[in-house]
């Protein structure tokens, strides 16, 4: 019960930290918490869904790629309310691979892949992978005011 023994800093901005182990069954509870936290940050329903999806995709990538499918490995998630949005940090102790440095794959629609990262790129305003000596921290920021990136997507679709 590690989290039971050390108080958080009372001066930090409003935040929630989650620690889960790498079971796919833990994705849904985490996503629900993210969506409800996003609601509390003032995001509308569509945005809540998009933010929850990004958290899900980022965590699924940790499970499948950073941990190569190994279960029972730790993942820490920190949700932070910002004046203009939400910041999500995901910490793993996995293979330290930065997916942003991988070459894009060929685009066969019947062999889809890369959808997870596309979601992060299209739906978040900032994403950054920060390699650690023993794993990775992914940070994602979504602002309430749509950025150019999301503006573009919305024009495409509408």
């Amino acid at each position: 019960m590690t989290a039971m023994s050390n108080p958080t800093n009372a001066d930090s901005p409003r935040c929630i930290e989650l620690k889960i182990d790498s079971y796919a069954e833990n994705l849904a509870p985490t996503r629900r918490a993210v969506e409800a936290f996003a609601l509390g940050c003032g995001f509308d329903e569509t945005s809540q869904g998009e933010i929850g999806l990004c958290a899900n995709e980022a965590l699924a990538n940790v499970l499948r790629h950073a941990y190569g499918g190994a279960t029972g490995r730790p993942i820490a998630i920190r949700l932070e309310k910002m004046p203009d949005g939400i910041r999500i940090a995901i910490r793993d102790w996995g293979n330290r691979l930065n997916p942003m440095t991988l070459a894009p794959r060929d685009q066969d629609p019947l062999r889809p892949g890369g959808i997870g990262l596309i979601c992060l790129r299209e739906l978040m305003d900032e994403i950054a992978f920060h390699p650690q000596t023993d794993g990775m921290i992914l940070t994602m920021i979504r602002r309430k005011q749509a950025s150019r990136r999301r503006g573009r997507r919305n024009r495409d679709c509408g």
């Binding site: 796919a24 069954e25 833990n26 994705l27 929850g52 499970l63 629609p109 959808i115 979601c119």
Partner: protein, 118 residues
């Protein structure tokens, strides 16, 4: 080809309509349960070999990319693009298909009837 039906409450109903198979999916599908959905759908396709597969997603409030991958695999297994129709999409699911740019390999319709008539 197994005779045993893979049971999951992710698929709430299945019916034949001529050469078409209409199945309703229900719930929220992510990496936690998409392998179960995959097994059940592949089993259905193997047993019925439908010319067309119509998946009613009215009661799917959420899907992640692993669920999308299952739907794409269904397209490969049924035959060529357009033979799998997705109907009654929730906005969230529709949004994900658009982001993934996969709205072309499926037939996307408002209702089951439309999918049957096309």
């Amino acid at each position: 080809m197994s005779e045993r039906t893979i049971r999951t409450n992710l698929i709430s109903s299945v019916r034949k309509n001529g050469d078409a198979l209409v199945a309703s999916i229900i719930g929220e599908v992510d990496l936690g349960n998409s392998p179960v959905l995959r097994a059940a759908l592949m089993d259905l396709i193997a047993r019925h070999a439908p010319k067309k597969l119509i998946l009613n997603l009215r009661h799917v409030q959420y899907m992640d990319s692993s669920a999308i991958a299952v739907l794409v695999e269904a397209v490969r297994k049924v035959g060529k693009p357009g033979q799998v129709a997705l109907t009654d999409l929730q906005p969230r699911v529709k949004g994900l298909l658009e982001i993934a740019r996969l709205d072309t390999i499926f037939q996307i319709t408002g209702t089951e009837q439309e999918a049957l008539e096309k």
